[in-house]
């Protein structure tokens, strides 16, 4: 097999055999693979559900990903069980960098997955970790106990069925931002945009793991490019300093598979 050199060995497709499937909630499952990769938190892989599609998924640990079923490919994933295999390309992209002594993880929905992985690494590095995570409702909450194990945890739900009622931003009030060296964000774009906006003055200390429509995932097709600089999110991101997100499309619009401009909701 001669795959991979041009894009580094990470671009080589490997066979990922599922070892275990963990049901996190109705719509979220964690898939653990037999062979761990060597990702750094924030990096992702392209997951090929054979016969269906190839989609980007963050690592939620060296050997796993945590998936929210939202459409065709993610739902097809849910049909798989231990022993089944997927095609994997990765780890790809640039992950988070750990900075300072006290860090704050801010996640929404399945966006908490890469943050949990980051929290593990932060603890290994001796850092103090606070997590602020938001979900729509109590039954959507995932990875709570994993994050609780890392340090202080603040939970919000839109409907107040668990934790603080409201959006994640409601929970922000509970954190003394002056004590925090770095903020790590992952979740729905408007949630991240809201947090960044509230913390504009410290945008250089916020790292956001963002989503765009990925096709090639190796920085050539242009599908994921971010205005106004043309940052190739798949190759230069998906983690990007909030500073670079302030004056552009982020939080305002997003391109779909055809390249046409649409909403950045979801």
């Amino acid at each position: 097999m001669r795959e991979g050199a041009i894009g580094g060995t990470a671009a080589r497709a490997t066979d990922g055999v599922i070892k275990e499937v963990i049901v996190e909630s109705d719509a979220v499952r964690t898939f653990c693979f037999q062979e761990p990769h060597s990702p750094w938190p924030g990096q992702y892989m392209m997951v090929w559900v054979r016969g269906v599609d190839e989609i980007p998924m963050s690592f939620s640990g060296p050997d796993r990903m945590t998936v929210h079923a939202v459409g065709e490919a993610t739902r097809a994933l849910f049909d798989l069980q231990a022993g089944d295999a997927l095609g994997l390309r990765g780890p790809l992209g640039n992950g988070f960098s750990l900075v300072g002594e006290k860090i704050l993880l801010v996640g929404g929905g399945v966006g908490v997955a890469p943050l949990a992985f980051l929290g593990d690494e932060a603890r290994k590095a001796g850092m103090e970790v606070t997590s602020l995570i938001g979900f729509r409702t109590a039954s959507d909450v995932v990875l709570k106990s994993r994050l609780e194990g890392l340090g202080e945890l603040i939970l919000t739900t839109d409907d107040g069925s668990a934790g603080v009622k409201g959006f994640v931003s409601a929970g922000l009030a509970k954190v003394d931002l002056e004590e925090v060296d770095q903020i790590y964000l992952c979740g729905p774009e408007l949630m991240m945009w809201d947090v960044i906006n509230r913390c504009r003055s410290r945008a250089d200390r916020i790292q956001a793991c963002i989503n765009r429509y990925f096709k090639c995932a190796v920085g050539v097709c242009g599908s994921c490019c971010l205005d106004p600089e043309g940052i190739r999110v798949c190759a230069e991101g998906p983690v990007i300093t909030a500073e670079r997100l302030l004056e552009g499309e982020f939080g305002r619009y997003r391109r779909g598979p055809s390249g046409s401009i649409g909403s950045c909701q979801g």
């Binding site: 041009i6 497709a13 066979d15 392209m46 096709k215 043309g230 190739r232 598979p257």
Partner: protein, 300 residues
């Protein structure tokens, strides 16, 4: 640095190194970024009459010596695209709009509706049904479509040719006959990869087009053949990763080169290639005119 500037196919280029079609050409911002990074011109993603999402994933297979892609001509249609071109044109290099269609009229309509510094006709994409190479492998079609677009616009028209034919010269001559200002060769080679674990073709579209270093020797031969019979310039593309590759392509007869897959290594490739060509010319004491087509003169 010795100047490499000149007119190629009706466009004044600061350097004869161009961003190839479909590579980071989806947005105006990324086109501008390539221009700011030193590209002599930038070609957009190919756009057509109607929006297309493109083929399902995987859309690429990364090989040691190349890439197989089956993007499937995703594009927001020409209607949504003028804005991107306009943003691209705020950069320091001309923007060439790559367009596709199912026949002369569609091509002409798209061309008429867009404002760009030049057009490149994609008659060569190997993995889109009823488009690209499927029509572009017939000299008649190439000539007709070229003529139709030439009549519809007053900027230069380049024609991008497919190597998936017995004799690419016939396509080049047809483009010239139709009034093309330059030909661009080559688009990708029809190719396929299969996952040996599962037996599935890897690409969502089953097959695609091979680009990158693997195809350079095929591209060099195509450019050599075309430049031997054409009076219009040939723009060489296929597997160019460094200045040595660019020099080789120009010796084969290319007046300028385009770079695609090598962008995987980042935007620095334009300046590296330009600097490398310039120092090679210095070392050898050659002019650009002496470089272009040297191989044919050597064996004459």
């Amino acid at each position: 640095m010795r100047s490499l500037s000149g007119n190629v196919g009706g466009l004044d280029l600061q350097i004869p190194v161009i961003l190839a079609a479909g590579i980071l050409g989806t947005t105006g911002a990324s086109l501008r970024r390539a221009a700011l990074a030193g590209a002599g011109a930038v070609v957009t993603k190919s756009v057509g009459l109607l929006p297309r999402d493109g083929h399902p994933g995987p859309t690429v297979v990364v090989l040691e010596d190349g890439l197989i892609n089956a993007m499937g001509l995703p594009n927001p249609s020409f209607r949504g695209f003028q804005e991107e071109i306009d943003v691209g044109r705020t950069g320091p290099a001309p923007v060439v709009a790559s367009i596709f269609g199912s026949g002369s009229e569609e091509f002409a309509e798209v061309a008429r509706s867009l404002k760009a510094d030049a057009f490149e006709l994609n008659l060569s994409c190997p993995h889109a049904e009823g488009l690209g190479a499927e029509i572009g492998c017939q000299p008649d079609n190439v000539e007709q479509i070229t003529r139709a677009v030439k009549r519809s616009v007053d900027v230069p028209v380049w024609v991008k040719l497919t190597p998936n034919v017995s004799d690419i010269r016939a396509l080049g001559l047809a483009a010239q006959e139709g009034g093309a200002d330059a030909v661009v060769a080559i688009n990708t080679l029809r190719a396929m990869a299969i996952d040996i674990q599962s037996g599935y073709p890897i690409l969502g579209n089953s097959f695609g087009g091979l680009s990158g270093p693997a195809i350079k020797p095929v591209a060099v031969k195509a450019v050599y053949d075309l430049s031997g019979v054409l009076e219009i310039p040939v723009i060489g593309v296929g597997g160019i990763s460094d200045w040595q590759d660019a020099v080789e392509m120009m010796m084969a007869g290319a007046s300028a080169v385009q770079v695609g897959t090598a962008l995987m290594g980042g935007y620095g490739v334009f300046q590296e290639i330009a600097r490398g060509i310039a120092s090679h010319l210095d070392r050898k004491g050659w002019t650009m005119e002496e470089l272009v087509g040297l191989a044919r003169r050597r064996v004459a």
